[in-house]
């Protein structure tokens, strides 16, 4: 198992507050790895650091031998490490299809000037983008809503749209921010299957931050557990379920977070 992405001794401090303290773990190619932990455990901050949305205070993130922390988000995205957001972060007044077309911007072959003059390459690009957008939406089962404006979509479809936008960039690693939040059981199971097929059929390595324990147990190859900014455990779902520290951390906090 070779590491595709390594988190090395990453620490984040906000003023006197330590959101993440000396966290290290590896992500292997083609695996689904979940980061879990009670509220305020520093999961989202960790995601932000991996995608360079916020700089690390110390430590680094290595992707294919290159440091990707403390860069700009768009550069990290160009290297193939792309995150999604929770549902409110979308292109509100674009349709589903338009969003997915725009998100393929990294694959453009023609220059911006080429687009302005309408060069052959640019026109080919547009055809390719639109074709790929339709394919992708088909794959995600979103073809029926491809013409809908994003702001009119229900929550579940918004989450799927977020993933569609992320996938459109053709990522190698996709980081999902709470993909199951606010979903009922059926919706969650659909999403679990979707994320799996993203990994199985498109060869995308998936990392996710999540609260929903049953879904996490079902979907993950491995799990990293954070508590108060520290990594307290790492392992397969069954190892995590029987880990003393983890049980303690969860029992010590709000009980409904276990949900098992």
């Amino acid at each position: 198992m070779s590491a595709l992405l390594q988190v090395k001794n990453v620490t984040k401090r906000y003023g006197g507050l330590t959101a993440n303290n000396d966290i290290s773990f590896d992500v292997a190619e083609n695996e689904i790895l979940s980061v879990i932990g009670p509220n305020g455990a520093g999961k989202s901050t960790l995601f932000k650091m991996i995608t360079s949305f916020t700089p690390t205070s110390s430590g680094e993130v290595i992707y294919r031998g290159e440091r990707i922390s403390n860069l700009k988000p768009h550069i990290v995205a160009r290297k193939g490490v792309v995150r999604t957001f929770q549902e409110t972060t979308i292109f509100k007044s674009m349709t589903v299809r338009e969003s997915v077309v725009v998100a393929q911007h990294l694959r453009a072959k023609a220059s911006l000037a080429g687009y302005f003059w309408g060069s052959k390459t640019a026109r080919d690009d547009v055809t390719t983008f639109e074709k790929y957008a339709d394919e992708l939406l088909e794959f995600l089962g979103m073809s029926p809503i491809s013409g809908e404006q994003a702001s009119n979509l229900p929550q579940g479809s918004l989450r799927a749209l977020g993933i569609a936008i992320g996938l459109a960039t053709d990522p190698k690693v996709l980081l999902l921010d709470e993909p199951f939040a606010g979903m009922n059981h059926d919706e969650t199971m659909n999403m679990v299957n979707l994320v799996r097929s993203v990994r199985n059929e498109r060869g995308v390595t998936v990392m996710l931050v999540e609260h929903d324990m049953p879904a996490v147990m079902k979907i993950s190859d491995r799990i990293v557990v954070l508590n108060f900014g520290e990594k307290i455990a790492e392992g397969t779902p069954s190892e995590i379920q029987n880990n003393e520290k983890v049980i303690e951390a969860y029992l010590g906090s709000v009980d409904d977070e276990i949900g098992m």
Binding site: T51, F53, K72, P73, H74, A77, R78, V82, R83, T84, F85, T89, I90, F91, K92, S93, M94, E98, V101, V102, A103, H105, L106, A108, A110, L112, Y115, F116, W117, G118, A122, R123, D125, V126, I165, G166, A168, T169
Partner: protein, 326 residues
């Protein structure tokens, strides 16, 4: 991408016919030669407003266009008067210089959003006026006057554009120049908005974070757009200076910057041709109200407030309805 629908072509043809045939015929018939000047001003202000509209397109409220118009006017005036450049060369130079200034100023201030960006751009206009007053090269409050009219352009001794000072009716020549520039500006704007750059701008307007997560270099696009916007401002300003043959620190002031913004709002931010319509409506509205003498400002302001109160999406929203807003 270049195949337009029939109605679009008809629209463009009708538009060209109105400005190149209709207006001159009408003016010749009515003898209102001053209308040339009015329409020329509208065209030039519409060019500057197009720039403001473009900054709106990346989600920034730009009340600093007056500064760039002033920069453009001074650059062209100085090049023509002090170094003897041809006006036609100084025009792009003015635009490029304004764009360069925009890049330098934009680097720090484009990080600001919303009202903060609006405030700083407004301050920028005031500073441009003060700078023009303070610098020796701009000649302080006296400004630069008696700027020669644009000269001739010829390629291989084939005259393309005649020397404006030899023309019997320089106003008409300015009118045609301004209209052609305006058409180029809006054609460019239309292409830009409907090209990939336009889509990226829209993605940034709606969510900068998400845009950067899909690999959009938002800093670069912001600067690029602000530079293009200021380029339009510089061109409009330079041309304006050439028509009035003078530039003063007060040629473009805060009120003008606010007007440019109002033009965009009034026309509608969702439509490429909104600022053109807005400029026309605002400028003519102001002129028509001249009859009311000292109540002009009062009525103008009241009308403006009423429009904002009841048509928050701009004039074009009447025709297209609410669904047409991008």
């Amino acid at each position: 991408m270049l195949n337009f629908s029939k109605t679009q072509i008809m629209g463009v043809v009708a538009f060209l016919a109105i400005f190149f045939v209709g207006v001159p015929v009408l003016i010749a018939a009515t003898g209102r030669w001053d209308f040339y000047f009015t329409l020329t001003s509208v065209a030039l202000l519409a060019i500057a407003s197009a720039g403001v509209w473009l900054t709106f397109y990346i989600g920034r409220i730009n009340i600093g266009q007056g500064a760039f118009a002033l920069v453009g006017a001074y650059v062209s005036a100085i090049l023509v008067v002090k170094t003897g450049w041809s006006f036609w060369l100084s025009l792009p130079a003015a635009g490029l210089f304004a764009a360069l200034v925009a890049v330098l100023i934009g680097l720090p201030i484009l990080r600001l959003r919303g009202v903060y960006f609006a405030m700083i751009t407004l301050v920028l206009t005031q500073v441009a006026t003060l700078t023009a007053l303070a610098l020796p090269i701009t000649n302080g409050a006296k400004g630069i006057t008696s700027i020669p009219l644009p000269g001739a352009i010829s390629i291989f001794s084939m005259p393309l554009v005649p020397d404006f000072s030899t023309l019997e009716n320089a106003r008409m020549a300015f009118y045609f120049t301004a209209i052609i520039l305006m058409i180029i500006t809006y054609a460019a704007l239309y292409r830009l908005v409907n090209s990939r750059l336009g889509h990226l701008c829209r993605s940034m307007q709606q969510n900068e974070e998400l845009a950067s997560s899909i690999g959009v270099n938002i800093t670069y696009i912001r600067i690029l757009i602000f530079a293009i916007s200021s380029f339009f401002g510089g061109i409009g300003g330079a041309m304006f200076g050439s028509i009035s043959q003078s530039v003063y620190p007060a040629t473009f002031v805060v009120k003008d910057s606010v007007d440019f913004m109002l033009n965009c709002f009034l026309g509608g931010l969702g439509y490429v041709f909104g600022p053109m319509l807005g400029t026309l409506a605002l400028y003519f509205g102001w002129d028509l109200l001249f009859e009311f003498g000292k109540y002009q400002m009062l009525i103008y302001a009241t009308l403006l407030i009423i429009i904002i109160r009841f048509l928050p999406n701009g004039l074009l929203s009447i025709r297209l309805g609410k669904g047409g807003v991008k």
